[in-house]
Each structure stands twice: as C-alpha cells, then as structure tokens.
C-alpha cells in the first residue's frame, strides 16, 4: 500500500486536493449562506487586491484631474456658454416638473399613497471587477466603514446598476443586474405591465412573466416597480429592444440596461430610503410664474408707455388688462407670465358649469393658478416665445381641467 502511494504520489495528491475542493464546494452549495472559512479567504483576497486597485484608481484620478483642470482647457469657454444655456433651459423644465410633482404629491396625500424617498446616498468609485465573465460583479471603494450594508441598491444617474452583495471593511462587492442570479421588479413605463427583470448567462437582461397577449414594443422604457423591496420605485432599469413569443404563452423580452454596465466609473449607493405619505407642499400658493420670474433674469423696467406704445401692444395683453381692470404696467417677465393667464378666463366663461378662473389679482394666489402655470411654461419651452401672449387654441383644453387640478374645490 505504501509502495503504491509512493509510486502514485502525484496522482494521489491530485485526487486528494480535488476531493477537498469538491467537498468544500458541496458544503457551500448545500449551506447556501457563506460560512466563516470561505468568508475568510474572500476577505484575505480582497484585502490583497483592492488596495492596489484603489491606489491605481486614485492615481489615475489625480493625473486626470491635473490634466483636465489645469492643463487641457481647450474649448472650456465655449462649453461653459453651452452649459449656461442648458442650465437656463433646465430651470424652465424644473419649474414645470416641480409643479407636476407637487400636483402628484397632493393627489398621493389625498389618497394616502405611500412613496419611497431616497434620503441618503453614498457616492463611490468603481475600483475593480470580479474578473470573470460568469460572475458579473464590481468592487467599490466604500464599505462597512462608510455605512454600506448588504442588499443596498446601487444606481447611477442613468439607472439601476445592482445591489450590494458583500461588504468588507473599506470595499464592497456589487452584484450587477446583468448577472444571472440578479433580479429586480420591473414595470413598463407606458402600459404599466409588471414583470421581473433578470440577468442572463451572456450578461444581457430579460423581462419575464409578461403574458404573450400583452402589448410590449421595442423602445418601451422599464422602471423599477419597487415590489422587490430593494430598489426604490421609478428608477430607470432599461429599454426593451426585442420582443419574441416564447414558450408557456409568455413573451421573451430582451432589455438594454439604462446604465452602461460595461463602463462604470462612479456609482451611488442608496444607504437610506423611507416610505411615507408625501407632504403637500405649502408652497402651493407660490405661483409657477413667480418662480419662473425669480429664476430668469429680469428685464429692466421701461418708462411708462405713452398712448402710441399702448396701442402697439399685443391684443392679448390689452385683453388681459381689460379683464383685470389694472392700469398698463411695464412689460417684464413677471407681468408676461401674468398676462399669459388672462386668455384662460375667456374660454372658461363659455363653459357652463365650469368654475371661472378669477381675474388677475385673485388668481395670483390659491390653487386655481395651476393651469395658467402650465400655460406659461409651455410658452417658455419655446425659446423666444416667453414674453408673447399664449396661443388661443390651447386655452379651451386647459380650462375644463382646472377644478380637477385644484382638488375639486371650485371657487
């Protein structure tokens, strides 16, 4: 026997090493949860590899920062100008969206809907990957010391990235949504169909559990449904790029991830989220036109217009002044916004039973200003059209909706 072992020493060692590893593998698969010994090996490996990764990423950032912030400044002025313009445009959009959000919050509060709020996020740098195509995970430079915990959602500005799988002292492993063991509750943005987005072995995404008689088209956006208890509701997950009829009367829907999972540099870990009924904003009374006027550069006041100038004013403005009974005022953005509301009153008077919007002075405060607000933004969305009077054809559409927006409180 001893001779046999000596003769086949190498093959015996091979069999022994393989047996131990198979045994260890079987134990891990059976237990499902991570035991201490395998955890220890992972901690040691991560402790050996990640400091180097952090160092290289830090060095790269430093060099890149010096180059881009101090040396390579070509085209920065032009870019700055473009960004300023973009900011102006985004501010206009923000006003519109904040109004929509306020309205949604009021309705949610009325219906006692609970909403998930992201209270706190931790920005972190991606420092490495698992290095395996069969395991789609990344490592970030924040860990237990930074308040990161298992199962916390990880996102970018573009959409969902994944969730925290393992947490170490100063690093954490994030399982990407494209991994085959990943899954997230999803809902289609338009048709509100609920399903599950799962990773595939090739690193793609599949939307599952959608019946074949449902209408899903390429290009439909997918959002998180919030049903998985991990990802907050409404985060972009991806976009449908192919739909085929699969087995079991279900659709096979391939999804392109919203976040670029192949080129991740910085991510946000949502460390705190809360579910509560949204508060109704007290700033309801703050009119969108006022917010808009505050955010836009004001036009210097002109001297009091003479008769000739008054006669040259747009008909809509004249109409507005007639309704309000006010004296002509110098034209600035604020008054332009107010003037834009006036024509709304005209079609409303033609609608029997529809509460009439009050003229200028009264409509400035209170909930009944929502429609005029929308109209002001619509105009402002078109550059150069802001000071002009609103188009008459849009007023009849907005007027009947007024009571609904004010929570059914006619005046």
């Amino acid at each position: 026997m001893e001779n046999l072992l000596t003769r086949y020493r190498n093959i015996s060692i091979l069999v022994g090493v393989l047996f131990l590893q198979v045994l260890g593998l079987a134990i891990q698969v059976k237990r499902k949860t991570e035991n201490e010994s395998s955890r220890l090996i992972r901690v040691w490996t991560v402790a050996a590899i990640t400091p180097l990764e952090k160092g290289v990423v830090g060095l790269e950032d430093g060099v890149s920062g010096v180059w881009h912030n101090y040396l390579y400044l070509r085209g920065v002025r032009k870019e700055n100008r473009e960004l300023q313009q973009e900011i102006q445009q985004l501010r206009l959009n923000q006003v519109r969206l904040s109004e929509d959000a306020n309205q949604a919050h009021r309705l949610q509060a009325l219906l006692r809907f609970k909403e998930q709020f992201i209270l706190h996020t931790v920005a972190s740098q991606v420092i490495g990957t698992s290095g395996s195509e069969e395991s789609r995970s990344i490592y970030i430079d924040k860990g237990e010391q930074d308040g990161i915990k298992r199962d916390m959602p990880v996102i970018t500005a573009d959409g969902v990235v994944g969730k925290v799988l393992r947490v170490f002292g100063g690093t954490a492993e994030v399982l990407l949504i494209s991994d085959q063991s990943s899954g997230a509750g999803a809902i289609t943005e338009k048709s509100r169909l609920k399903g599950i987005v799962q990773g595939t072995p090739t690193g793609g995404l599949l939307l599952q559990k959608i019946m074949s008689d449902e209408q899903v088209q390429a290009g439909d956006r997918l959002l998180t449904s919030g049903g998985d208890g991990i990802f907050p509701k409404g985060m972009p997950l991806g976009e449908v790029f192919s739909v085929t009829r699969g087995k079991d009367s279900l659709l096979t829907i391939h999804v392109k991830p919203a976040a670029n999972l192949n080129h991740l540099e910085e991510v946000l870990v949502i460390t705190q989220q809360e579910e509560r009924v949204p508060e109704t904003a007290d700033s309801d009374s703050a009119k969108a036109a006022d917010i808009l006027a505050r955010q836009l550069p004001s036009v210097p006041e002109k001297p009091a217009p003479d008769k000739a100038a008054a006669s040259a004013k747009p008909a809509s403005q004249k109409l507005a002044q007639e309704h309000s009974g006010e004296k002509p005022q110098p034209q600035n953005l604020k008054t332009a916004g107010a003037a834009a509301e006036k024509p709304l009153a005209k079609p409303q008077t033609a609608n029997a039973g529809v509460p009439q919007a009050k003229p200028n002075a009264e409509s400035v405060s209170g909930n009944d200003v929502k429609k005029p607000v929308t109209r002001v933004i619509k105009i402002s969305d078109q550059p150069g059209a802001l000071p002009a009077a609103p188009a008459a054809n849009s007023a009849p559409q907005s007027a009947p909706a007024l009571p609904a927006k004010t929570g059914g409180q006619p005046q």
């Binding site: 090493v17 891990q28 698969v29 590899i49 290289v56 990957t129």
Partner: protein
C-alpha cells in the same frame, strides 16, 4: 531528479524566486480584476490561467503545478460571487496537466506554447462549465464560437506573457 529526454535534448527544470512566486500571481489577479473596467474586451483573457500554465511547464513538477493551480484558482474564486472551488478545481487539473506535459515535452518555443495554452484553455473551460452546471447548478451557456475565440486570444497573449515570465526563471 529524474532526467527526461525529448528529441535527444535534455529538458531543463526551472524555479521562481519566492517574491516572483507570490507577486506574479497577485499581479495577474489584480490585472484580471482591474483591466476589464477600462478595456472591456480584457474579460476574454484569463491571466491567472496563463500564469498557472507558465509556472507549471517551467517547474515541471506535478505537485507544484497542481498546488499552484489550486491556490491561484481559489484566490480567483474569492473575487467572484460564486462558491469557492470552481476555478480552484479547474486550475488544479490544468496545473497538473501542464506540468505533466512539461515533463515529457519541450514547450520552450513559441509554437508549442501557443498550442499548449490553446488546449489547456479549452480543458479549463470544459471543467469549469461541467462543475458549474452539475455541482453548483448554474445555467451557463456554452458557445463554441466564444470559447474558441477566447482560446485563440489567450494563446496569443500567452506567447508574449511566457516570454516576459522567462526573465524571472532561475535554472535549478
């Protein structure tokens, strides 16, 4: 030490210094984990596997080959979220096989290195997939096209890498 001959030429046995034995696999693991962040195509390569093959054929010791493969494989497993042992078992077998081949054949020239890496890459993948499917229950998808492209890419890289690692070899 038994002397093995091939084509009438004595095969030389090499060793690596302790720092090289420790640092080269760690560097390979680091590059394997870090480079796919910047160069996504790098995930086609398996640098730790190339290091295992290189060490095994240079040392020409089956025990050293399988132990090197086992340790590097387990460390590679530790960076993934899969159970430990998938890469460990695959690389143990490759380390043993490559060192066994190194005992019998001269794999010092570029052509032989290319072929050895090509074959052992495919063996490694077949073992990995078999274990992942049968023992762990992973639904991995085997694609001959993908595997052959990866094998060729790794074989090309191996020719360059082995030439670099030759600088760390010390004759016994």
């Amino acid at each position: 030490m038994p002397i093995t001959y091939t084509s009438g030429e004595q095969i030389e046995v090499y060793r690596f210094s302790i720092p090289a034995t420790v640092l080269i696999p760690l560097l390979a693991l680091f590059l394997q984990a870090f480079l796919p962040l910047k160069l996504h195509f790098f995930s086609y390569f398996d640098l730790p596997l190339l290091v295992v093959i290189s060490f095994a054929v240079a040392r020409r010791s089956q025990v050293a080959g399988l132990l090197t493969g086992s340790v590097i494989g387990l460390l590679q497993d530790a960076l993934t979220h899969q159970p430990l042992g998938l890469y460990g078992i695959s690389k143990t077998v490759v380390g043993y096989g490559a060192s066994s081949l190194g005992v019998r054949l001269d794999v010092e020239n570029a052509g032989a290195r290319f072929l050895v890496t090509l074959v052992f890459y495919l063996i490694h993948e077949i073992i990995y997939f078999t274990i992942a499917r049968s023992l762990v229950g992973l639904a991995l998808k085997w694609s001959w096209q993908h595997e052959l492209i990866s094998a060729l890419a790794n074989a090309f890289l191996a020719v360059i890498l082995f030439a670099l690692l030759d600088r760390f070899k010390q004759r016994t």
